[in-house]
């Protein structure tokens, strides 16, 4: 009896060891490139110009690569500022517009409602890559080509199908009684939306905001085409220019410090708000 118990325990221990060995190994594989890049960004410039073996700095910790990065073009903070402005504005505008539209589609009856909803949702089928040239011309007509507001409007439009879908579902999940009660109390529609409904759909707002931030912070192709003035570049466009050698010999340490600057907000945001991110992912998956 005790022998059999010992055998079971041994088998369990073996299974657990194997499971953790695989888990650790696979996790390491996926994290390694990020860690490698992070480590090289803290090497002195001369050391960063040699193969990263070993990956960690041997000649001491240094922020030289970050200092070199800061000097590119009109200064890296301009480009980081552009990226941040675009991402923040995209988040705010996307949230406001999808909040209003989600509420409208969830709670009101009006002519052509379903047509409009299907129209908005079905634009996910159309790749924006195929309408870049007309977008370029339209923005030029509106005087918004090569401006940050112009690119924000494009990003917002791209995120609307997903965001409106999320927000309508969020409002659908709120019982109608809550609104009726507030209306009896004499609250105006907007006051009620802000004070009563907003707190209830906040998880949906968080999901919409995270997706809008990550996508607009990381977007490359539209920014590459629509922002022609070097001062207006966002980080991905600027760093791709640095990598292609447009600013002289490529300083790989500086490029990796730029990669860190681009990755850090995404990783931080994901680790902090993972729950809302995965929710959005699975909501999209089951639709």
């Amino acid at each position: 009896m005790s022998e059999r118990k010992a055998a079971t325990a041994r088998r369990r221990l073996f299974a657990a060891t194997r499971y953790h060995a695989i888990g650790l190994f696979v996790s390491l594989l996926f994290v390694a490139p990020i860690a490698w890049s992070a480590l090289v960004s803290f090497k002195p410039s001369a050391e960063a110009a040699r193969p990263p073996l070993p990956p960690w700095p041997v000649e001491g910790f240094s922020i030289q690569s970050y200092e070199n990065l800061a000097k590119y073009g009109v200064g890296i903070w301009t480009y980081a500022g552009n990226s941040l402005t675009v991402a923040a504005a995209t988040v705010v505008v996307t949230v406001i517009i999808s909040l209003l539209a989600g509420y409208g589609f969830s709670r009101f009856k009006f002519p052509l409602k379903n047509v409009m909803f299907v129209l908005i949702i079905s634009t996910v089928m159309i790749p924006f890559q195929s309408i870049l040239t007309p977008l370029f011309l339209i923005l030029t007509k509106l005087g918004l080509q090569n401006t940050l507001p112009g690119i924000v409007l494009i990003y917002v439009t791209l995120h609307l199908p997903f965001s409106i879908f999320m927000m309508r579902n969020a409002f659908d999940a709120v019982p109608k009684d809550i609104e009726d009660a507030a209306r009896v109390d004499g609250a105006s529609v907007f006051l009620m939306l802000r004070r009563v409904m907003l707190p209830l759909v906040l998880p949906g707002v968080a999901t919409v905001a995270i997706f809008a931030f990550l996508a607009s912070w990381n977007e490359f192709l539209a920014a590459l085409i629509l922002l022609t003035d070097q001062k207006k570049y966002t980080l991905p466009v600027m760093m791709a220019a640095v990598r292609s050698g447009q600013f002289g010999t490529i300083d790989w340490g500086a490029v990796q410090s730029g990669v860190m600057l681009m990755m850090a907000p995404c990783l931080a945001l994901f680790l902090l708000l993972q729950r809302y991110y995965i929710r959005g992912l699975t909501a999209g998956a089951v639709k």
Binding site: R50, Q129, S130, L160, A240
Partner: protein
């Protein structure tokens, strides 16, 4: 509503006004979204088609040329090269992503100690952008200061450091590895949701009936996951057909333009050579391909599970 008989209308007059106000309010709520979609999606879509029928330089007057752009496309060897390469890349990368993501999903499915940590680690590359990931891998792939070539050389696997970007195959497979690293976590989570949707009772019943784990996977798991697999497949295919960032940043379309994708080709025709009409014609072809994929997706997703 306004055509109902007068008596009824009078009695429901106040309700009618309220109804109209309700309708107006609803329209106002959705108006900004509808406006944006019209101005930045529908109008450009119509324009893209219109432009594809023209010789449309960046400056100067567009000239109507009918279907000439499309006919020229058919005879353009570089267009076919880009299409062929995009198709090749899509097929290979999708197979490799699934070959990696499916085992990962099976591994990460059950709630076990530390599983959240492992899942998070595998998922991390998904949230960084393709731009940053490409810049990171461009460095790892560099022959002088990167990781792969010097490491292979120091381990004695190669006689001298190999420039991975010098030949098509090494460039292509390095980028495949990078894309798999970046997207496997995403597909893992999608497949995971499908796996968790299968009731444990069914699996348990099959186990008691003496089905082996392979039989259970083949006869129960796979059929019940059809919808999820279709979804992951379509997302992967659509994403790959539109690939651009990694080929532009890492390989610059090289060596010898052998890694120019469809979107890359549109980009260079429209915004490097400024043949806007020609680029638009190519865009319409790409659009047709993507819409076809979406329609197939809807078809596959509508069929009931396990049918």
């Amino acid at each position: 509503m306004t055509q109902s008989n007068p008596a009824k209308q009078r009695s429901s007059g106040r309700r009618g006004t309220r109804l109209r106000r309700q309708q107006l309010a609803g329209l106002l709520f959705v108006a900004p979204a509808v406006l944006l979609v019209i101005v930045f999606f529908l109008v450009p879509l119509g324009m893209a088609f219109w432009m594809s029928l023209h010789n449309w330089p960046l400056l100067g007057r567009p000239r109507f040329i009918g279907l000439t752009n499309y006919l020229n496309l058919m005879n353009d060897q570089r267009f076919w090269n880009a299409m062929r390469f995009t198709g090749y890349y899509t097929v290979i990368v999708t197979i490799v992503i699934f070959a990696v993501a499916f085992p990962l999903a099976l591994f990460a499915e059950k709630a076990r100690p530390m599983i959240k940590v492992y899942r998070t680690a595998i998922f991390l590359p998904v949230v960084v952008g393709f731009g940053s990931a490409s810049l990171l891998w461009a460095w790892l792939m560099n022959v002088d200061v990167g990781l792969f070539s010097p490491l292979a050389y120091r381990l004695g696997l190669t006689e001298k450091p190999v420039n991975l970007l010098a030949s098509f195959d090494t460039t292509f497979w390095s980028i495949i590895v990078m894309v798999v690293w970046k997207t496997a976590g995403f597909n893992m989570i999608i497949l995971l949701t499908g796996l968790q949707g299968i009731s444990t009772e069914v699996q348990e019943a099959a186990r008691i009936d003496g089905a082996s784990s392979w039989q259970r996977f083949r006869r129960i798991t796979l059929p019940l996951m059809r919808r999820t697999i279709a979804l992951a497949l379509i997302l992967s295919v659509a994403g790959s057909v539109l690939a651009f960032d990694q080929f532009y940043i890492i390989a610059d379309g090289g060596p010898q333009n052998s890694t120019v994708t469809a979107v890359y080709w549109i980009f260079s025709q429209s915004f490097v050579s400024f043949r806007l009409g020609y680029g638009a014609a190519m865009s319409m072809v790409l659009l047709a391909i993507l819409v076809t994929i979406s329609v197939v997706q809807l078809r596959l997703l509508r069929t009931p599970e396990g049918a």
